[in-house]
């Protein structure tokens, strides 16, 4: 019973944390940066293992944020040197991800971390990997890390709400009136890295992308206010996590994969049926 509770809680926290952070990236038209960072974070995690010989919370967070920021930085450098932005993203993330996968294959025997884990996560094992302090268990580590990432996201968005909004809508005007553009950019990159690494154990590197981008895009279709998009995106992430969990139990398939599939299903529903500009609704209204 407790076991199921922890898994569902973890799934919901992934949906909420990634949904909130990801919606900002969708609005900034940086979805593919989310894709890139969630791949390369793998390298950060492996790197952290090399340094600290553990897959523990703090070194992992640091390693992941470093590589996450490095990804964003490299993409920008290539971009400025004249490489078109999508190709720059493609080269950077595939290189770093390939490196991460190779390193995992080399050290694979020493740690509980293999390429499958990196791709799909092991949410089923989350309840066993608890936070131990002085022999006392304080609940799963993943829940702690996700909780931390969620609080950090909420805090930073509350503090810098205006700046994030302005730099997203009209970056040039924002610079002119004194919004620190670069700071906000890397702040968001850090948020994405944190959210990604906190979710990594549960849903894996690649399926984090679904949790980051798809709820944000769905909320964007349904809402007309900046704040509403962020909140709704978190809610949609949670719903997708719950539905995905139920679906995976029903058919005995990958939990993370099911959650990603459910985000897609929710997006499809919004795309076709949302009352303002859904495809079907538009078609119907032009016919009658």
């Amino acid at each position: 019973m407790m076991y199921t509770f922890w898994i569902i809680l973890t799934g919901c926290l992934v949906g909420l944390t990634c949904g909130i952070a990801g919606s900002l990236l969708v609005l900034r038209k940086m979805s593919m940066i989310a894709d890139a960072i969630s791949h390369t974070v793998l390298l950060g995690i492996v790197g952290a293992f090399f340094v600290s010989h553990s897959l523990n919370g703090v070194p992992m967070l640091i390693g992941a944020s470093v590589v996450g920021l490095l990804t964003a930085y490299l993409v920008e450098v290539l971009n400025k040197s004249g490489v078109q932005s999508d190709a720059a993203i493609g080269v950077v993330f595939t290189s770093l991800f390939a490196l991460g996968v190779i390193l995992i294959s080399l050290i694979g025997d020493q740690v509980h971390l293999d390429t499958n884990h990196a791709l799909m996560g092991e949410i089923a094992f989350v309840p066993w990997d608890t936070m131990m302090i002085k022999g006392q268990s304080y609940g799963p580590q993943a829940v702690w890390m996700l909780g931390f990432a969620l609080i950090a996201n909420v805090l930073l968005i509350t503090l810098f709400y205006k700046q994030i909004k302005m730099s997203t809508f009209d970056p040039q005007f924002a610079t002119l009136v004194g919004v620190p553009l670069t700071f906000i950019h890397y702040l968001l990159m850090t948020m994405v890295s944190f959210s990604t690494v906190a979710s990594f154990n549960s849903v894996g590197a690649i399926l984090v992308v679904a949790m980051l981008i798809v709820p944000g895009a769905t909320a964007y279709l349904l809402s007309e206010r900046f704040l509403h998009v962020i909140l709704l995106s978190g809610v949609i992430g949670v719903i997708a996590a719950l539905l995905g969990y139920g679906f995976s139990i029903l058919l005995n398939v990958s939990i993370a994969g099911s959650m990603a599939t459910m985000t897609g299903l929710l997006f499809l529903l919004a795309f076709l049926f949302n009352p303002k500009n859904g495809l079907i609704i538009k078609k119907l209204s032009t016919h009658y």
Partner: protein
């Protein structure tokens, strides 16, 4: 007194010069139209003056001090198509962005700021649309929201990038009225402009630009066929039919 002094401003895009050695002074309280053919670097010039794009060389002074110290005196109306109007927000919110400096880094907008923003919307005839999602506004209405945002900045110098492009008559009237008001209050206005027919009605100063400055000065003195041909490189044969220009020319 000069509101703006530009010295030897040079901008290079991918090794191609976009602006070469541009220098001119803009007197305080003037209405300047920036004219030139497509690709002459008109938008590039104001963006470089506002430090929004990297400059290879050159200085911009505002009221005798470097631009970076005087940023708070500047208001800006960018081209409408430079932002994504699907962005989830409403008209009032966009105008409030003009009050960013006054509201403060961590604070939320107070009542006074909101009522200030509403007044600005009122001035451009957009108060009724304050809570409208911006994608549901027409092109002209979106332009007026941008005008209201600039108005909310309460600046001393205004830069406008093609404000008249693709707007309705009502919006055009609003822009002209605003420019006149600003001039009356002693504010300085620079406008990137396209339509040669209206230059003499709108502006008292003209900058003719084609990568290099061709001429800067009072409209009556500078805006003539000879200078225009030099700017547009003989591509203005259609202009000879324009009665406005012939009357207004030398």
């Amino acid at each position: 007194m000069n509101a703006i002094t530009v010295q030897q401003l040079t901008v290079v895009y991918d090794k191609q010069p976009a602006l070469e050695d541009v220098s001119f002074h803009v007197p305080k309280g003037s209405l300047t139209g920036i004219l030139g053919p497509n690709g002459a670097g008109k938008s590039t010039l104001i963006k470089a003056m506002l430090h929004l794009i990297p400059r290879k060389f050159g200085h911009v002074n505002v009221f005798g001090k470097p631009y970076t110290e005087q940023k708070h005196l500047i208001g800006y109306v960018p081209q409408r198509r430079e932002v994504d109007w699907d962005f989830p927000t409403n008209a009032l919110d966009v105008v409030l962005m003009g009050r960013y400096r006054q509201i403060g880094f961590f604070k939320r907008a107070k009542k006074e700021e909101i009522s200030w923003a509403k007044q600005c919307l009122e001035k451009v005839g957009m108060l009724a649309y304050a809570n409208r999602q911006i994608s549901q506004l027409s092109g002209g209405q979106q332009q007026r929201v941008f005008l209201a945002r600039a108005l909310a900045q309460n600046a001393s110098i205004y830069f406008m990038d093609e404000p008249f492009a693709g707007v309705d008559a009502q919006t055009e009237k609003a822009i002209i009225q605003l420019m006149k008001e600003w001039k009356k209050e002693g504010k300085t206005v620079l406008v990137v402009h396209h339509d040669l027919q209206t230059v003499e009605d709108y502006f008292d100063h003209v900058l003719l630009l084609n990568k290099k400055p061709i001429q800067y000065g009072e409209t009556q003195r500078v805006f003539n066929l000879n200078n225009l041909e030099q700017t547009y490189g003989g591509k203005i044969s259609f202009l000879e039919k324009s009665p406005v220009l012939i009357q207004g020319g030398e």
